[in-house]
Amino acid sequence: MTHVIETAAHVPQSGPLADALAMRGKLMALTQDSHDAALTPSDPGGVPLALRAALACRMARICHQAGLEKHYATLLSSYGDEHIALLADPEVIPETSEPRLAAIVAYVDLVTRSPKEATKADIGALRQAEVEEADIVRLAGLVAFTNYQLRVTAVLSVMGEAK
C-alpha cells in the first residue's frame, strides 16, 4: 500500500530502510489513517477541508519539507478555493476583517514554530475569535499531526538518499 509519507520521502522499494518500514507496517498504516482523520475527516466541524489543506501546506513550507508541501498543495488545489489557498504562503496573514481566520492562523504559526511559547492566552484568543471548543481541539490535532508527519518525512527523505 502506498502512503503519503513514503511517497513524499521517495523511500526506496527495497533495502534496509524498506525492511525497517515493513517491520513497522502497522504503525505506518495507522499514521496514514491519522493523516486522513486530520486532513480529510468525514466530520470536519468548523475547520473546513480546504482550510486544513492550506494550513498543512503552510506548515510544510515553514518546515522546509518540499515533498509534503507538494502533496498538500495538490490536495488544496482539488478544492478550488482560491481565497483560502492564499494561506498556504506563510507570509500571508488574514485581514483584521476576518478575526476568526486570523486567530486560527496565529495559533498554527505559533504552535508550529515555537510550541514552547504557547500559553493559556493563545487558547483564550481562539475562544475570543469565536472558535468553538471542538474546533480548537480539531485545529490542535491538525497542527500536532502535521508536525509529526513533516518530521518523519524529513528523516526518511535523508535516510533514503543514495549513500
Binding site: D19, P41, I136
Partner: protein, 192 residues
C-alpha cells in the same frame, strides 16, 4: 487554586485542561466508540476527554502511540523514552517530560541521566550513544527540523541500525505531536 509547574521534574503532575472535556454521559456514538479504544481499567483522563472532541483522530491514537512506544524489536524501550523526553524538552512540555523521564528512570533503574538532561539539555554529560540519540532527537524537534546525512551518520557511528533510527524517529516525532496537544490545550499543576 493549585500551583502551575514551570520547571522540568520527574514527579508526574496533574494536567488541567483549558478546553472543557466532553461529558461522557452526553457523548455522541462516535465519541463513545473512540473512547472504547483507550484503556478501560482506569478512569478516563481529562486529556482523553478533551481529545474526544475530535473522535476520528482519537480512535486511532491509542494503537499508534502504544505501537510506537512498545512494539517489539528495534530500538530499546528506554531509548524510545529518551526520544520522547528530548522532544518534550525542546517543546517545554513539562507534563510529557515528567511522564517519560519517570518511565526512563524506572527502566534503567537510575535517575542521573534525566537529572542532567533537565539541568543542561543537549550539553548533558552522557555516554556517547545516549548523547548522540539526545542530540539527534533535539535537533529533529526544532522548527524547521534539522536532519542531514551527518546527523544520520552520527547515529550509525554509535551503533544504531536502520530499524533503530526509524524507531527513534517515530518516538521523537510522536512526542512533537503529543507536546503540541498537551502543552497547548492545558497546563501541569502540582498534586496536592
Amino acid at each position: 487554586m493549585s500551583r502551575v509547574i514551570h520547571k522540568f521534574t520527574t514527579r508526574i503532575p496533574t494536567w488541567r485542561p483549558y478546553v472543557t472535556p466532553i461529558d461522557f454521559d452526553n457523548a455522541t456514538d462516535a465519541q463513545r466508540e473512540a473512547l472504547k479504544e483507550t484503556p478501560s481499567n482506569t478512569k478516563i483522563s481529562d486529556y482523553v476527554l478533551v481529545l474526544a472532541h475530535d473522535p476520528e483522530s482519537l480512535r486511532i491514537r491509542t494503537s499508534l502511540f502504544n505501537g510506537i512506544m512498545y512494539d517489539k524489536g528495534g530500538l530499546s524501550r528506554e531509548e524510545r523514552e529518551l526520544g520522547a523526553v528530548a522532544a518534550s524538552v525542546v517543546n517545554r512540555c513539562i507534563y510529557c517530560a515528567a511522564v517519560h523521564a519517570h518511565r526512563y528512570n524506572n527502566i534503567v533503574g537510575d535517575d542521573a541521566v534525566m537529572k542532567d538532561i533537565f539541568l543542561r539539555g543537549k550539553d548533558a554529560e552522557l555516554d556517547e550513544r545516549t548523547r548522540a540519540i539526545l542530540r539527534f532527537a533535539m535537533r529533529l524537534s526544532e522548527t524547521p527540523p534539522n536532519v542531514s546525512q551527518d546527523d544520520i551518520q552520527r547515529l550509525r557511528d554509535v551503533g544504531l541500525d536502520e530499524q533503530e533510527i526509524l524507531d527513534l524517529t517515530l518516538s521523537t516525532t510522536l512526542f512533537g505531536w503529543a507536546n503540541r496537544l498537551m502543552h497547548t490545550l492545558g497546563e501541569p499543576v502540582a498534586n496536592v
